[in-house]
């Protein structure tokens, strides 16, 4: 008996600016591909049914849940993960700086998803209200922070980004 989706396909994806070519099972989740084929374990998996948002990555710039995508669907597309967020080894992205400054993370598990969602959100809403930020991250569950400092961090990051 062969399970559905075990046939293999070659895919080409660009992740954080780096092109990859890999042969994968058709059923392989994008989240598993990123984590266990490419070793980009910064993208976390919390529910594997598209609710918690921990696995959020940018897919051609749009936030998506990588646990709801198959790796083969990423063929020919550009993915951005938390590993690609900082501009260089020695610098942090304003969102990362703000999360650090405002204590926007505790266990750090939901954090990559929060950062990626907020990156996309702030790109379109450079001067958001608190309420808009709360709505923007309402598809991402955090069990540690009660969200308050995440919201503070997002407001602060928006300000940093407007100034730069």
């Amino acid at each position: 008996m062969t399970a559905v989706g075990t046939e293999r396909r070659v895919i080409r994806v660009v992740v954080n600016g780096v092109p990859y070519e890999r042969e994968v099972e058709a059923r392989l989740l994008l989240s598993d591909f990123l984590r266990h084929e490419l070793g980009l374990t910064g993208t976390h998996v919390g529910c594997e049914h598209g609710v918690c948002g921990a696995c959020t990555v940018l897919f051609d710039g749009e936030p998506v849940r990588s646990c709801l995508f198959l790796a083969v669907q990423a063929d020919g597309h550009a993915i951005e993960t938390v590993e690609g967020l900082a501009p260089s080894e020695s610098e942090l992205h304003p969102l990362q700086l703000a999360f650090w400054e405002k204590h926007g993370l505790q266990c750090g598990y939901c954090t990559p998803g929060m950062l990626m969602v907020l990156k996309a959100f702030l790109a379109e809403h450079p001067n958001p209200t608190e309420e808009e930020i709360r709505e923007a991250i309402s598809g991402n569950l955090c069990r540690c922070t009660g969200y308050q400092n995440i919201v503070e961090a997002a407001l602060s990051a928006a300000q940093l980004m407007r100034q730069s």
């Binding site: 059923r27 993208t43 400054e101 204590h103 069990r143 308050q148 995440i150």
Partner: protein, 790 residues
């Protein structure tokens, strides 16, 4: 002047790695040649296994082996009873894989080991089990009736434990009371639900002869000890590491079946083995908490002063009692809260059901206790026509009455003895923060006149934190200038690497960034129990402080000898030890560490050591070649944190939706090591508490099927549901420990069901409803406000 580091909101040392995707959680670890595990779990709540056929599964592609109970060697022993108690007369623990009976949906039955998780899950589908269904026990009130079906036939009862605690003369108090009020109060089943599920990676390191295990546990030393005992290995032959852990909240402290089976597979197959729980497995395979049914009554005098309380409750233990009866014991002991209850009768039965076992989840019996106590006091206030704040004020333990004995034995076997607190001050601060009088006299009537259903609630609580048995720490100044700190306590986001470093940096007056904290790895520290019961800062922090103080003494002593001055003439500042008034005469800590070690080799250009004439052995008896100390701290009993919360809510009676308009918090955890971290802990606890008050309920049906085992159906609050919190701090130092600290981990979760109930009840006064059950939900609120429709 010494630099103040303790008490400062210092940014976390943990964060740069976690923010850049360089964390290392257990599932991030992939080892060469690694095999993957998937479990077949029981689809039934209660059944006998007639037969299991794994032959087809074993033939599936990529499958290395499939195990049932018959195949698991030393893991065939029953899982340990971690915390016995004399009143736990009928304990029952499971087998790692079901032997001949399953007792809840989700219980592990067979284990597939394959080349990938995908293939392992394929093979699980091919396992055939023939079941003989048994009657499921789900309703704990029915479970205690005579003739009820039994979860464990051989026990002859569903009652695992029957506990009675009596303080004073409750019967006398009730007979002379001006008023007696009774309530039936229920808190439903919920769960901690960390965003990271559990995971284990194990490998036998053949070069060292060591079993290496990465585990999402809150207690790596406990797991190490269990594995060593189970496999006949020396403890040093088992290394358990809790790497970055994505939240715990209690449910990750246990010895779960997977935690012995995965290492056993690594030992047997001599390949690295990984298992990562998926979310459905987490819902049915990781412990739950909360369900208790209380029949409580309060006796008061004519002025609303408490004469006595009687409470009889049922506690849902789930299918097994591996963690004893800690949760209901805590409920029983903490029920009086910050109030004087001179006469108290508390009694519970812990009842088996065919559901996931129950062990502590953030709050651990305390939200239940606060809910009961605060509901009773609200009832007293309402019945006697008193302000709800005033009733509390009349019943507080006063600041001069500490230490205060509740009269019961707490979860750690020590007296339930409050060490310090200022409850009236705490409430005054809260009311001031709320502008309570104006709120109640002006704001509420104004809003109500607009036709809005608004209400205010307040709730107060205490939390026994920082229990024993003990924790330890090693502190060592390195000759390169860093300070090494090792402890046995892992973290799940509580900033140990930052706050423990602050404690050491304060004692030695070194930059906090030079202190490197190693935790959660049994190779670094051998003794201790783990992270639970809001105890890290208190117990581990105190051990770290004691060790750092000893190192400080060692450094002072050494500097005094080298400089030929008295210790009293030395000061410790700016990372140096030097002669008071003559800063040039002294040493850096790195230089002192070099001086301590007669084996003098280094690249460092600033070696201070001069050749010396021979005076005997270079390391005389009693001397050590380092500035290093290992100390343990064992608290005499718990230290008691406290808090008060206030809430303004609005109920939309058309939709039944609850809107929290304002949330005020006063919190007292004694001295704060890092107020930023303390506030983060309070925020998180409150959010989980709000979840437990309005959103999160695990729904079992009569067959013991968990109906809402997904994040689509078990609703946890998002950023839209959690309001902004205004926190004020009161600092009442603990006299028990060297830092004056109290725990804060669970604080926020405790009062939330109580305060939400109070505020909603106040908002719905026109409907005359009493809130006696948690969590609420829109459906319940709609029914309460539309009695004609239900």
């Amino acid at each position: 002047m010494p630099t103040r580091i303790f008490g400062e909101p210092i940014k976390r040392a943990e964060d740069p790695r976690l923010l850049t995707g360089r964390g290392r959680y257990t599932d991030d670890i992939d080892l060469p040649g690694q095999l993957h595990v998937a479990f077949l779990r029981s689809p039934l709540a209660h059944a006998r296994i007639r037969s299991i056929d794994v032959s087809a599964a074993r033939e599936m592609p990529g499958v290395v082996t499939v195990w049932t109970y018959a195949d698991i060697g030393p893991c065939q022993r029953r899982m340990p009873l971690l915390i016995p108690h004399p009143d736990l007369t009928h304990p029952y623990t499971r087998y790692a894989l079901a032997k001949d009976e399953v007792n809840h949906v989700g219980e592990p039955v067979a284990m597939v080991i394959a080349e990938s998780r995908y293939l392992a899950e394929d093979a699980v589908e091919a396992i055939v089990v023939e079941w003989e269904e048994l009657p499921p026990v789900v309703d704990i009130e029915r479970a205690v009736q005579p003739g009820a079906p039994l979860v464990h036939e051989e026990l002859g009862t569903n009652v695992a434990a029957h506990y009675v605690g009596i303080v004073g003369d409750p019967e006398g108090a009730f007979s002379r009371a001006a008023h007696v009020f009774r309530e039936r109060l229920i808190i439903e089943r919920s769960a901690g639900m960390p965003i990271e599920t559990r995971a284990i990676v194990a490998v036998w390191n053949d070069v060292e002869g060591v079993l290496e295990v990465w585990d999402t546990t809150q207690a790596p030393i406990v797991i190490r000890n269990a594995l060593a005992a189970l496999f006949g290995l020396a403890p040093t032959q088992v290394r358990v590491i809790a790497p970055d852990v994505g939240g715990g909240f209690g449910c990750k402290i246990m010895v779960y079946p997977e935690e012995v089976l995965v290492p056993y597979a690594a030992l047997t197959l001599r390949r690295p083995i990984k298992w990562t729980e998926d979310r459905l497995e987490h819902f049915v395979g990781t412990n739950h908490e909360r369900l208790q049914i209380h029949d409580a009554e309060i006796a008061v005098d004519a002025e609303g002063r408490i004469l006595g309380i009687r409470d009889r409750f049922l506690h849902d233990a789930g299918a097994y009692t591996p963690y004893g009866i800690i949760v209901p014991i805590i409920t029983a002991c903490q029920l009086p809260g910050p109030y004087k209850v001179p006469n108290y009768h508390v009694e519970f039965r812990a009842v088996y059901s065919n559901t996931v076992p129950v062990s502590p989840y953030r709050g651990a019996g305390r939200p239940h206790a606060a809910f009961v106590m605060e509901r009773l006091l609200d009832r007293v206030a309402d019945e006697l026509g008193l302000d709800r704040a005033e009733v509390r004020r009349r019943n507080f333990i006063q600041p001069h009455e500490f230490p205060y004995d509740v009269g019961l034995i707490f979860q750690d076997g020590a007296p339930t003895r409050y060490d310090s607190g200022n409850y009236p001050g705490m409430l005054d601060l809260l009311l001031q923060q709320m502008d309570y009088d104006r709120l109640v006299r002006e704001e509420l009537p104004r809003l109500r006149a607009e036709g809005r259903f608004v209400g205010v609630g307040i709730a107060c609580y205490v939390e026994g934190t920082g229990i024993g048995p003990y924790e330890g720490a090693t502190v060592r100044v390195e000759p390169t200038g860093q300070v090494y700190v090792a402890t046995g306590m892992p973290q799940q986001g509580q900033a140990h690497k930052t706050v423990l470093a602050q404690i050491v940096a304060e004692e030695l007056q070194v930059p906090v960034g030079s202190v490197q904290v190693f935790e959660g790895d049994t190779a670094h520290f051998q003794f201790g129990s783990g992270t639970y019961a809001s105890r890290s800062a208190v117990v581990c922090g105190s051990a770290v402080a004691l060790a750092a103080r000893k190192v400080r003494e060692q450094g002072l002593q050494l500097a005094a000898e080298e400089l030929e001055v008295a210790v009293e003439d030395l000061v410790v500042e700016d990372g140096r030890v030097y002669v008071r008034g003559a800063p040039e005469r002294g040493f850096t800590w790195a230089q002192l560490a070099q001086l301590a070690n007669p084996l003098r080799y280094a690249y460092a250009g600033d070696l201070v050591v001069r050749p010396r004439p021979w005076t005997g052995p270079t390391l005389p008896p009693g001397k050590q070649p380092s500035l290093e100390a290992t100390e343990y701290y064992s608290p005499p009993h718990a230290t008691w944190a406290s808090g008060a919360v206030g809430m303004l809510v609005e109920v939309d009676i058309e939709t039944g939706q609850l809107h929290i308009r304002k949330l005020w918090v006063v919190h007292d955890c004694g001295k704060m090591i890092n107020p930023m971290v303390v506030e983060g802990q309070v925020h998180g606890g409150i959010a989980q508490g709000i979840g437990g008050a309005f959103y999160e309920k695990l729904h079992y049906d009569d067959n013991g099927q968990l109906l809402n085992a997904s994040f689509m159906d078990f609703l946890m609050p998002t950023a839209m549901e959690i309001p902004r919190m205004e926190i004020a701090h009161q600092e009442t130092p603990s006299p028990l420990n060297p830092l004056g600290v109290k725990g804060v981990g669970e604080a926020g979760a405790i009062p939330m069901p109580a305060v939400v109930a109070a505020a909603v009840e106040d908002a719905l006064r026109p409907f005359g409803v009493r809130i006696t059950r948690m969590p609420l939900d829109p459906d319940q609120l709609w029914r309460m406000t539309h009695p004609e429709s239900s």
